[in-house]
């Protein structure tokens, strides 16, 4: 709650709206005890007194009634009616929406078609019809305004409920013996309430306007009772001769609706989880670089050389050291595997190469990434953009999320090419077919006009690979490209990547958590833990004689096909959170061989001949491993 208010207060406009609205509400709450003239007493002798006259601060209206008094009482009434209408509309609409969304099927169909029919009428016509049927009067106007707004809430809430009703926790509640009513009340409703509040906060202002509109037409509050709409309506005839009678209620409506809408937008922004996570704050085009000191000199190894790379996430006052000094390199035609669990920094390392880590909150704070000798960290955006896809291309885990759902795959391939060089329509099509054929998609002439959803997961990932190949890059960084795929498809994709690398001399950086995949595809492997490489070397050596206790234990806890039913060697505990890394070895907490010295001071990554380990007590001496 406090966090919510703080988030709200950060939005200046919402804060201003909130303050103004609070003042207005305070004023109308104090109205009964303020020394005001009776709002309904007419005094035609003193009609149309201008503002700031004796005894009438805002002047008087056409019947000589005190405008200040009428304004405050009228505002009170208008606000009350607006809020009441909003609450009624939200309650009824949410109830309809939840029932329709939860039960689905025919119930949903019948209810929602009814709601659609209501929505088909222009709202003011509908409100007029309701008031005409019920007779004029403020209470009937309230009912009309509420009824007109019910469909808006019903549709909104239904959409949200459909999503929640299919969540696993609802199934779990059913299995825990809950009835439908109880599920609606205790499982669905608490998750819908934020949406109801958001919808309400953005519509109250609108409802106050609608009520004022009905009163303006004489269908709402009846004389002599004042509300903002009726005040405007009565002042209409004197609009030219005595404008203050219209301006006073008009300005109040403006103030109320403005402040409610500003506050409402703030509430929505503060409550919406997508906005809270910063999904709508657009990341910068390239990762922010704040590099202290001079970048480390090149060691002259590999086509792509990463030296002591440090990437951090700055979230509020916390610093997450996602990548804490990683050095690696990959040669032409070579496949380097990066293996680690989630949170080990393997993906962030890969994304840092082309400055693709989202900023904010990502910041590259140190190290160098050299492509063919030139440092890319801090390179101008134009240069990075020119190299993305053409020199270094990426393949991501979920091809459904990386392909645009509304464009044909062929067009997306052509677009990938066109962002680096102009290409004609015919040539582009031919190239797209050639690319699809290169990734063994059967029948490429026909498949280029498919939409992503028309393809299976394996086919989509092939398109993802084709897109990465589109500009003949030298390096492909593949971030868990087969994790979302079935095993039979995974085998095909791996074989394809291996083929491409051999036939085109591609360098591949392959990120995975699967030792089986690494063993089959990669020449060298780097094992990452808590943002750092703990062991690296040739794949066969690492798999046969792992030297870091983490590598050993990680390999042991993965079941392998063909060993039958057995107990697995689990690693107790969890990896450390990277904003609170311990001094010394990050794995010390979970290590069986831990000594006192492991927890003191930095442990270097040491070794010879491409084989290195970051451990004071490695499993086997280097010489033994080398044999």
């Amino acid at each position: 709650m406090i966090a919510f208010v703080r988030l709200l207060a950060r939005n200046r406009l919402a804060l201003a709206g909130g303050i103004v609205l609070s003042l207005v509400i305070l004023l109308v709450l104090l109205t009964p005890i303020l020394p005001l003239a009776d709002p309904d007493v007419t005094d035609t002798a003193n009609r149309f007194k201008p503002p700031f006259s004796q005894g009438a601060l805002l002047g008087t209206d056409h019947l000589g009634r005190d405008l200040l008094s009428r304004l405050l009482w009228g505002t009170q009434l208008s606000l009350a009616v607006g809020f009441a209408a909003a609450i009624i509309a939200a309650t009824v609409g949410a109830a309809i929406g939840i029932v329709a969304g939860f039960y689905g099927g025919r119930t949903d169909n019948i209810i929602m078609r009814g709601v659609d029919m209501l929505m088909a009428f222009p709202y003011i016509l509908l409100a007029l019809a309701i008031v005409a049927a019920l007779g004029p009067g403020l209470f009937n106007a309230l009912i009309a305004v509420a009824a007109v707004n019910v469909p808006f809430f019903a549709r909104n809430i239904r959409g949200v409920t459909v999503g929640i009703a299919h969540k696993e926790f609802v199934d779990a509640a059913r299995l825990a013996g809950m009835s439908n009513t109880r599920i609606i009340l205790t499982e669905v409703l608490p998750n819908v309430i934020p949406v109801i509040i958001i919808a309400m906060s953005t519509t109250i202002g609108w409802m106050i306007l609608e009520t004022a509109g009905l009163s303006f037409l004489g269908l709402g509050s009846q004389p002599p009772q004042a509300d903002l709409g009726s005040m405007l309506g009565e002042a209409r005839s004197a609009l030219i001769s005595n404008p203050h009678t219209s301006i006073v209620p008009g300005v109040m409506i403006l103030i109320i609706v403005m402040s409610i809408n500003l506050l409402g937008d703030g509430v929505r922004d503060a409550l919406d989880p997508r906005l809270k996570s910063g999904a709508l704050s657009r990341p910068m085009a390239a990762t922010l670089v704040r590099r202290a000191g001079t970048p480390p000199p090149p060691a002259g190894r590999g086509l792509l050389e990463v030296r002591e790379l440090q990437t951090q996430f700055h979230v509020k006052d916390r610093v997450y050291r996602a990548v804490g000094g990683v050095s690696l390199h990959v040669e032409k035609g070579e496949c380097l595997g990066i293996i680690g669990e989630s949170g080990s920094g393997k993906s962030v390392t890969a994304l840092s190469v082309m400055g693709l880590v989202a900023s904010p909150p990502g910041v590259i704070t140190g190290g160098a990434v050299r492509y063919d000798g030139t440092d890319l960290i801090g390179a101008p955006y134009r240069q990075l953009r020119d190299m993305r896809g053409r020199n270094v291309a990426y393949i991501f885990q979920d091809p459904l999320a990386t392909l645009h759902p509304l464009y044909r795959v062929g067009d997306q391939l052509v677009e990938a090419i066109r962002s680096h060089r102009p290409i004609g329509k015919e040539e582009g099509r031919a190239k797209a077919i050639e690319l699809l054929a290169a990734v063994r998609i059967p029948n490429p002439e026909k498949r280029i006009s498919d939409y992503p959803h028309e393809m299976s997961g394996g086919m989509r990932q092939r398109v993802g690979i084709a897109m990465a190949l589109a500009n003949d890059p030298d390096i492909i960084i593949a971030d868990e490209p087969t994790t979302a795929l079935d095993v039979t498809v995974q085998a095909q994709i791996l074989a394809l990547l291996d083929d491409l690398r051999r036939s085109r001399g591609l360098a591949i950086v392959f990120i995975t958590h699967d030792f089986g995949v690494v063993a089959q595809l990669c020449d060298r492997v780097a094992v990452m833990y808590a943002g750092r490489i703990v062991e690296e070397g040739h794949t066969r050596e690492i798999l046969e004689t792992p030297r870091h206790p983490y590598t050993t234990r990680l390999m042991a806890c993965v079941p392998e096909l063909g060993e039958g039913k057995r107990r697995l060697e689990a690693i107790a505990g969890l990896p450390p959170v990277v904003d609170k890394l311990p001094a010394g070895c990050a794995f010390a907490e979970r290590c069986l061989k831990v000594q006192e010295v492991c927890r003191q001071g930095d442990i270097p990554l040491e070794g010879t001949g491409g084989r290195a380990v970051r451990c004071l007590f490695p499993e086997a001496p280097i010489s033994e491993a080398a044999e």
């Binding site: 299995l175 825990a176 809950m178 499982e187 089986g516 990896p575």
Partner: protein
């Protein structure tokens, strides 16, 4: 000995493309009639690729989906209602995604209370005592009870999911990909916990996964599902070591194994058959090297073969061990 769980000819057909009046234009057979028996204290592994109907099958077994045909028997008694609460006391479900299976707006204690209160009608004190017992058995600290789901890591959340399933006091658990959302080091912790719980509480498991190695490591018997049908069923140590069905063989050869060179077991870019227009014969025929005309015309039945495995194939691979 009565079987813990048995079902006969269980199938599910989903209508697709409803017209305005509710009549459906076509239907998809997600699960073809399946007959299986799970013995008491056994772990039956069910393995298959995405879209093979394994989750649909699981949801039918706990009453979350009504089967189109077939009957379910739990511990010898027929369960023909579709009321999940009836099922809840006897068979429980552990979900794949540990976080999304916990209501984000409830504390762990509220989540744990529900089955105890609603299925067993326990009072407050009795519930607290039972929750303490269960939490101890899944290695969770009691201070977690007052927290909300988003405060937990995947592994912890999955323990809570398992604890909730245990709270219902069912002796059969359907584990639907219980570890596939977890990191490998945590995956092993949860698998070992499941093995301990099974021994401690006399449980029977139906373990569903797409990960062959995991299924093999935990199961007594394995059923291989393809396109909604069981194509092979046998003892865990034999199914992948000596596959009889060509599909099982393809699966086993596709799994990446340290020390085996990379070869695509299937060179062609084959796709699964279209569920709206299923082939008349064996669903695997189009991908199978041994397919004959008979395979394309007639659906093979699951029949007992050599060495205790059953296989649904006209030309089982056989082969020595």
């Amino acid at each position: 000995m009565t079987a813990a769980l048995s079902f006969e000819n269980l199938s599910k057909t989903f209508p697709v493309g409803r017209t305005l009046l509710g009549a459906s234009r076509a239907s998809v057979k997600a699960v073809h009639p399946i007959t299986l028996t799970v013995e008491k204290n056994e772990t039956l592994g069910i393995v298959g690729e995405s879209g093979c109907g394994k989750s649909t099958l699981a949801r039918m077994l706990v009453g979350l989906l009504e089967p189109t045909t077939g009957a379910i028997q739990i511990e010898g008694a027929a369960l023909d209602t579709a009321d999940p609460a009836e099922f809840g006391k006897r068979i429980q479900y552990v979900f794949q995604d540990p976080i999304s299976s916990l209501n984000p707006r409830k504390t762990i204690r509220q989540i744990m209370d529900a089955p105890l209160k609603l299925l067993h009608g326990m009072g407050k004190e009795e519930r607290d005592k039972r929750i303490s017992e269960i939490f101890e058995s899944v290695n969770l600290r009691e201070e977690f009870l007052e927290r909300y789901p988003h405060e937990f890591s995947g592994g912890q959340a999955q323990r809570i999911g398992i604890a909730r399933a245990l709270a219902a006091n069912a002796r059969i658990l359907i584990l639907d990909e219980p570890v596939s959302a977890l990191d490998v080091s945590v995956q092993a912790q949860v698998l070992n916990l499941l093995a301990d719980l099974k021994a401690a509480f006399d449980l029977t498991y139906l373990f569903i996964s797409h990960d062959l190695a995991v299924v093999e490591a935990v199961s007594d018997r394995i059923a291989v599902l393809y396109f909604g049908s069981v194509v092979e069923l046998g003892p865990a140590e034999k199914v992948f070591a000596n596959p009889q069905h060509p599909y099982t063989k393809l699966l086993a050869e596709s799994a990446p194994v340290v020390g085996r060179p990379l070869t695509a077991p299937e060179a062609k870019g084959t796709e699964l058959p279209n569920p709206l227009d299923p082939p008349p014969g064996c669903a695997f025929a189009a991908r199978c090297l041994h397919a004959t005309d008979r395979c394309r015309a007639e659906v093979p039945k699951l029949t007992e073969g050599a060495q205790g495995t059953s296989v649904a194939c006209f030309h089982p691979l056989g082969g020595a061990e």
